[in-house]
């Protein structure tokens, strides 16, 4: 298992925001994380990304329990997080952004041409055709193109787990489609993907499994092939659906 959360708990002061959360994600699969506003999705992401310290449970990467105490730890484990408000530098071009902050970490010395070629190869391996000029400043890109650059960065740096927290929330329909196809392709190339979205069409379009958080608890983890939209909606809004969910016989989580 690439990522495995076991009994994960997180509290802010007296409030337990995540309680005893189990979740596992394999290489090659897209796991969608759904839940109402405030359910704890972003908090879960920040625990895995090393931004929040966890209060209970454990995080395993490749079957080894790891202490992730900062974004650097996460990056070293091959975990890349793409937030909605992206950390791209507007005044730098596409190539510079792809390599930003990484030159030193890996002790790599690449000349400009080599970087451009590597950037072009990465984008083409992802079948990205929407960015024509790699030397154009990121400020001039559309929202969808910016997401694309952020995601390509994960591939370029050989990440093993890419986490996307609402990457399509600010995008139009056509751009959303491209990002969805990109997310699917990431997993098909062998990465593990954790994808957070409120849009169930987007979730069903790419997910292999759907994990539903309800008030900080994992209500159920379903195979997307078996799930229906109404089940998922019930799990999001009430934490259960039929025999599934909190207080029911099973929550579907893999053991």
């Amino acid at each position: 298992m690439l990522l495995e959360l076991t009994g994960l708990s997180k509290r802010f002061g007296p409030v337990e925001v995540l309680s005893d959360v189990d979740l596992s994600i394999d290489a090659g699969e897209v796991c969608a994380l759904v839940g109402d506003n405030g359910a704890g999705k972003s908090t879960l992401v920040k625990c895995v990304a090393g931004i929040h310290a966890i209060d209970g449970g454990s995080i395993s990467v490749n079957d080894e329990v790891r202490a992730i105490s900062g974004p650097r730890d996460a990056a070293a484990l091959g975990i890349e997080v793409v937030y909605q408000d992206l950390a791209l530098c507007d005044n730098l071009d596409v190539v510079e952004n792809l390599f930003l902050g990484r030159e030193k970490v890996r002790g790599l010395v690449l000349d400009d041409d080599a970087m451009e070629q590597l950037a072009a190869e990465t984008l083409s391996s992802l079948a990205v055709r929407t960015i024509r000029n790699l030397r154009q400043p990121v400020a001039s890109l559309s929202g969808g193109q910016r997401q694309t650059v952020a995601i390509a960065k994960a591939v370029l740096w050989n990440s093993r787990l890419v986490i996307l927290d609402e990457p399509t929330a600010a995008l139009g329909v056509a751009q959303t489609r491209q990002v969805l196809e990109l997310i699917r392709r990431l997993a098909d190339q062998g990465l593990a993907v954790l994808y957070i979205s409120h849009n169930l069409n987007d979730v069903f379009a790419v997910a292999d499994r759907i994990a539903a958080l309800y008030l900080g608890r994992m209500a159920a983890v379903l195979d997307a092939a078996d799930a229906t939209q109404s089940q998922v909606v019930e799990l999001i809004t009430s934490g259960r659906s039929g025999t599934l969910g909190l207080g029911a016989d099973t929550n579907g989580a893999r053991t």
Binding site: V173, T176, R177, D202, F204, A224, A225, D226, T228
Partner: protein, 362 residues
């Protein structure tokens, strides 16, 4: 079983090497030796043969390894063998001549009048193709069997022997495959779908068709009239004469004209547009349930405007699929969108021709 003679073995090895280069591009001799499981001296012999017949050439290519020493690559000579591929659509004929290795050598298209008959469409194709290519393959949207189009919503044809029309117009033989099957072959051989054993491609045009290919090869009976699966008994009248067909219920013609405005309106929260997409998604999912149950694919590609529909209405599509298929059929089913876009059918038609051409060399 009699052992094949030396000459026969040599022929087969030549075909295998050419196929390997055609499918996977330039390679070193070492890579070829590895991929084909032949020894080095056999590779050397057949490479010499194929170089003499003008099919392959050796070039100093990319550098390999840390030493950066350039290595000799074996590659196909594109012009050595070519296949003429044609795609007939409601409003035009597209043509491309593909060389060995998959490179496009020529490309042209000409418009068709609405409601064009088979012979006139064949004449238009003939004008583009002439005598080019060792094989000629046409992709036609509709239910195709043994060279004939049984039914095509897109072209308004029924019982049209397209292979005969094309042969009459060009004085040569043609292979005819349906557009969805051609696109499936294309995505399997030059797209991202090579892991699929049973690949089902759905083509959204003015009508809805599907093509099933097994290990990347077109099958007799693999052309499927997706659009005329009845999803609403007694429902809307379909051009085919039945009622409640998928393409009538989905109003496929409207989506073919302009899916963008429907998905954009739904994306901006327009309730009627959302409802329309949801119902279309459910209908599609239900019809797909029947097709999946009957054919057991391991991958489905949503092509043409079905790409946009799937990505905007995946929740109802997959929900309906979950409710209409057995767990063992749906659990390993991958749902994807194509990567070759509009080029898929032409590329696949050409690959069908190359497969035949290479088979003949064996």
């Amino acid at each position: 079983m009699a052992r094949p003679g030396t000459e026969e073995l040599r022929r087969r090895n030549r075909a295998a090497l050419l196929e390997q280069l055609h499918r996977h591009g330039p390679q070193t001799r070492a890579e070829l030796t590895e991929a084909l499981g032949l020894n080095r001296s056999t590779i050397a012999t057949i490479a010499t043969d194929l170089a003499e017949s003008g099919h392959i050439q050796e070039t100093t290519g990319r550098s390999t390894g840390s030493a950066g020493r350039p290595s000799t690559l074996v590659e196909c000579v594109p012009k050595a063998e070519s296949v003429a591929a044609v795609e007939i659509r409601a409003d035009r004929v597209r043509f491309a001549l593909f060389g060995l290795g998959g490179e496009v050598l020529e490309r042209a298209e000409s418009p068709l009048l609405t409601g064009v008959e088979g012979p006139a469409a064949a004449e238009a194709a003939a004008a583009l193709v002439g005598g080019s290519g060792a094989e000629a393959v046409a992709a036609v949207p509709g239910l195709v069997d043994a060279g004939a189009v049984a039914h095509s919503t897109e072209l308004g044809w029924t019982g049209r022997d397209v292979a005969a029309d094309l042969a009459a117009a060009t004085s040569r033989e043609w292979r005819v495959v349906d557009t969805a099957t051609a696109a499936a072959v294309g995505e399997w051989s030059r797209g991202d779908a090579h892991d699929a054993t049973r690949l089902l491609y759905l083509h959204g045009g003015r009508g809805l068709t599907a093509g099933l290919v097994v290990e990347g090869r077109a099958q007799r009976g693999g052309s499927i009239q997706l659009g005329h699966i009845v999803v609403e008994p007694g429902g809307l009248a379909c051009a085919c004469g039945l009622r409640g067909c998928l393409e009538a219920e989905m109003e496929a013609f409207g989506y073919a004209e302009d899916i963008e405005s429907a998905t954009a309106a739904a994306g901006m929260g327009d309730a009627a547009a959302r409802d329309g997409l949801r119902r279309s998604g459910e209908d599609l999912g239900r019809a797909l349930g029947a097709v999946v149950t009957a054919t057991g694919p391991d991958e489905i590609l949503f092509g043409g405007w079905l790409r946009e529909l799937y990505l905007s209405a995946a929740a109802p599509v997959r929900s309906a699929l979950a409710e209409t298929t057995l767990p063992h059929l749906r659990s390993r089913l991958r749902l994807r969108t194509p990567v070759l876009g509009e080029e898929g059918p032409l590329i696949g038609a050409a690959e069908t021709g190359f497969a035949a051409l290479i088979d003949r060399m064996r």
